[in-house]
Symmetry: C2
Subunit: 605 residues, 2 copies
């Protein structure tokens, strides 16, 4: 189906919005009147610009407070309308959105509404324009889609149809099944938006908190299925008012938006996307650093052994059990590092730059990612390298799809490495989870990316009190928990470089691992005694157990499924490690201990 986006959904000047929509692959746009008024481009120039960008202008919006008003008021409305219809002719837009009236002058009189809308439609028809009438959820007398449709039906004018908007329908809890009673050719337009399920005033909810389909709590796909059954063949168009998107760069927002429509189309069975290929494990995590020494010392103390060296690049492989870390001391300015400056976080000093994900079918995984607008990275970074499939996540992290040694037909990243003599590392460790700080404006985008591109399951977003603001984080995991990524954002847009990334290592015995780390010269994050005093009050722990936790800075959490014990290393650059011992049934990440950890990290700076 054709895809469209309202200009109000994107940040910037009209030109920036149109460019971003085009680059992200949209077929058309809705022009929001205020964006036109504020633009220095004349309507004809906007039309040309859109044509150059391959965009149709699918809707001009909105006209307000038109219908069901006293005749003198309506006469004024009719006198004003030709101004807009002429403008639309210059734009080359053939459909105008009329929102149900919120005016105190509006009368609760469906016959009057119908007859006035028919008169407006007659006038519009003279200009070759169609009128799409939409029920605002807070319309004065008309606030439901079925009511708006009854008025359109009563008007019986060929140039008058209805516009459906998923936010207005689902925010009121209306049953969208009734949409199927509307003939498809009378649905002149379909606007889509999702929203988090907030108990709040619907106008404020609509104006500030809408999001793209799949990022909120509405069943937008279910609604679209009803619409498709009517035979509707217009565009799927996004109209999202969101305070965050207003501030964010238009380019990444438009990509996120278009991705949401691709996923939606897949969900309703009209899109053609390569099937999802869910990763089964973490092959490696790659750190880039200008100075290998501090990272090497940290890895050594953690029990990693340096097992191999890249054949052509300054990259070392460190291993411990099933955990593999690459340490890259090459130039941090990788070929695709422009991604980082476009919404992503530039890597200064030591950072987590790439993740290798074990994939049942790396090529297929990359094809799906590409179809879902993930930038594809060059398969070979150097001529002699194994041809790996890799894409960039929204935060700039490189994701490599790996088939480590499973199939001789498939490239193996390890073939690029030559073994070096080494002592064996500690056994039993694996990567429990990776925590990545996201660009602040792209928290929901990051979730949608990991869900749709990688097929990971998002868990609930949690607020975490840092001493200097509320952070948010959300885990995305595969089915068996062998891939867990925690996506976090700081308290404010400027904070994304302030907060560290981390690698959590699952170990069989966190006490033993922490002791060994310290014995090897590693620095553990000290945890205040007050925390452990409180543990003593909350849980019935043996005194010597508590003393051990105190000594090592081990934190403790428990849920219905089991116990979670964890501790932290000091930070190197932007990266630190966590050692975790997780009961199989425990589902979380020790979020309730995070404020204490964060305060301790601030105190140590």
């Amino acid at each position: 189906m054709r895809t469209s986006i309202a200009t109000v959904s994107l940040s910037g000047s009209l030109t920036e919005k149109l460019t971003a929509a085009s680059r992200a692959g949209f077929d058309g746009v809705e022009i929001f009147e205020n964006d036109l008024l504020a633009s220095a481009l004349a309507p004809g120039e906007i039309r040309s610009r859109c044509a150059d960008l391959g965009l149709s202008i699918d809707l001009y919006q909105p006209m307000r407070d038109v219908e069901a008003v006293p005749e003198d008021e309506f006469a004024r409305n009719l006198r004003r309308a030709p101004h807009k219809f002429e403008l639309m002719q210059e734009l080359g837009a053939d459909t105008v959105l009329v929102c149900s009236s919120v005016s105190p002058l509006a009368l609760d009189d469906d016959d009057l509404a119908a007859s006035q809308l028919a008169r407006l439609a007659s006038l519009a028809q003279d200009f070759g324009i169609r009128v799409a009438y939409e029920a605002l959820a807070w319309g004065r007398h008309v606030s439901t889609y079925d009511h708006a449709w009854r008025i359109v039906e009563a008007a019986g004018h060929p140039a008058l149809g209805t516009c459906l908007d998923s936010f207005h329908i689902l925010s009121r809890g209306s049953d969208p099944k009734g949409i199927e009673d509307i003939p498809g050719e009378k649905i002149f337009f379909l606007q889509l938006a999702d929203a988090p399920l907030l108990a709040m005033d619907v106008l404020q909810w609509s104006r500030h908190y809408r999001c793209f389909p799949g990022q909120g709590g509405f069943d937008v796909a279910g609604l679209v299925r009803h619409v498709l059954r009517t035979g509707y063949d217009g565009p799927l168009s996004l109209e999202v008012f969101n305070d965050v998107f207003r501030q964010a760069e238009a380019g990444p927002t438009a990509v996120d938006a278009h991705r949401s429509l691709l996923v939606l189309q897949e969900a309703v069975g009209v899109g053609e996307l390569p099937a999802s290929v869910v990763p089964t494990g973490v092959a490696f995590a790659e750190l880039v650093t200008p100075d290998a020494e501090p990272v090497s010392a940290l890895l050594g103390a953690l029990g990693f052994a340096r097992t191999a060296r890249h054949r052509s690049k300054p990259v070392d492989l460190w291993e411990q059990g099933e955990a593999r870390i690459l340490v890259n001391t090459g130039p941090a300015a990788l070929p695709h590092s422009r991604l980082r400056s476009s919404g992503g976080t530039p890597i200064n000093g030591t950072g987590l730059a790439a993740i290798g994900l074990e994939s049942p079918d790396p090529r297929a995984a990359a094809r799906r990612a590409e179809a879902l607008l993930a930038p594809v990275l060059p398969r070979r970074r150097a001529p002699q390298d194994a041809p790996l499939d890799a894409v960039a996540a929204p935060d700039g992290t490189e994701l490599f799809f790996c088939a480590s040694g499973r199939d001789p037909e498939l490239a193996d990243w390890r073939a690029d490495f030559a073994a070096v003599p080494h002592e064996p590392g500690s056994a039993g460790a694996r990567i429990d989870h990776l925590a990545l700080t996201q660009p602040w404006h792209q928290y929901d985008a990051a979730t949608l990316f990991h869900r749709s591109v990688l097929g990971l399951h998002p868990q609930e977003s949690v607020d975490v009190a840092d001493p200097y603001g509320l952070l948010r984080s959300r885990a995305v995991t595969n089915g068996d928990g062998n891939v867990r990524i925690v996506l976090g954002v700081g308290a404010a847009p400027a904070d994304d470089t302030l907060h560290a990334q981390h690698i959590a290592l699952a170990v069989p015995d966190v006490v033993a691992a922490a002791r060994a780390f310290r014995a090897a010269g590693g620095g553990l994050l000290p945890i205040p005694a007050n925390y452990h005093d409180d543990l003593a009050a909350r849980y019935e722990l043996a005194d010597d157990e508590l003393d051990t936790y105190r000594d090592l800075g081990i934190l403790y959490d428990r849920d219905a499924g089991g116990v979670f014990r964890h501790c932290y290393t000091r930070t190197v650059g932007r990266v630190f490690f966590e050692l975790v011992e997780r009961d199989p049934g425990y589902r979380g990440y020790g979020a309730q201990n995070a404020p204490v950890r964060l305060a301790a990290q601030h105190a140590g700076r």
Copy 2:
């Protein structure tokens, strides 16, 4: 009365919070448990620190899910309680907050709740501790203050009382009059918070949107009056969970907080503040600039004449009718410029640094400001200067209280200036309003400051769509509109230096003024033709009138009281001028045209 603040209301480490509370003049604090847990200070050290800072520890909070649970669960709670009571002894805190249970285990059984609370109180009493039981608005079975009080009354234990919290009471719409039925000595604590009137889930509202009394929509003063009638003599204590305050520097937040309690005490008749002295006009606005040339050219083109020169400093006075602008090319690092680095906006290049306000009693105005924690500026900047009363606003703007030539007994700022030969400036102009960008985290603080310190009336906050995010602004005015200040904030915390300040000049004829400005070489902000095309659709304006507006970039607005016509100059540094022609009945500031103006300003960069 004694004033206190919960540590959760402030940002930073516990040490930073305590320091900020003390410096702002609080008498005590509530220690929020998580702040203690995350602190490296032992309880005894916290006690000493508070003593050194002159702070008592008035409350330790909270204990949760204690009461009305099955006996085995309650037995566990009782086993845990001594840990906390011992901790409180070390802290020197004698009152603990117990919140009504939200546990799914809690039973709807007031007798059980009363008996268990009495048992807890008996245990507490052994440690010399009192238990203050509070109804959370979202408590499972106990969610209103009168219900909590009935349980406390039924328990009949001397160490058990109630804690009242204005948020929990007013957010549920409870009538606070019933508070008077509670004996004052059984009100063990009073927590105060205001909140904007939002229709939203009460838990989210409470956790993220509380604000200080006078910054929201609740009648906190009314509630406090009921409490005082009971004979309550404990502290007035602020407990505010607010996402913005969590991020903001603790120092300015604590000052804002304490100011709110001073104003509240005045409102309920228990404080002693010098009476409010409302300014009657704008004596001058002062621009600082490293280069007088661009500003002088702009002022000259606007019809200002350079009429006088400061006797000892590089400051020129420019006049036009009743509008007076000082242009200061001296060092921008004024004695109090440290204020700007503490939450205020540093002035880079050309900025609006000071405002002279005509005051019926400058000394009294300064005394009130000082009593309300405004930093007082040196009366004489140089030995020979007139001794003026001046304070700093939260954004660092200097406010001078002036009595320009009204009373020979009072210092006159104009005495510092010597006339220079000049052509007369244009007649008829005066300063309509001054628009000042506020530090993002201090929007509500700025409003409270201008209301309480200056006695100005805040109008509604309005959202304005900038192409790159939603801005907010709120006007504060005196009764007759001769003093109007518009306080604005950017879309995100980092934006405060991006947005310009401006001086709006009221002129008798904006068309004539704009033409004269252009004829004198001034640059008007061009407004897109699309805007004026839309004006033609919305209003029945004569064609030649519209052509004039188009030509000059004049914007047009109309409300029930009249018409507002305005246009803008190009920006110099951070400052631009607006020319406005305001019908006497028009109340606004052309906010609906602001998106077009902002887009035009972005386009011109």
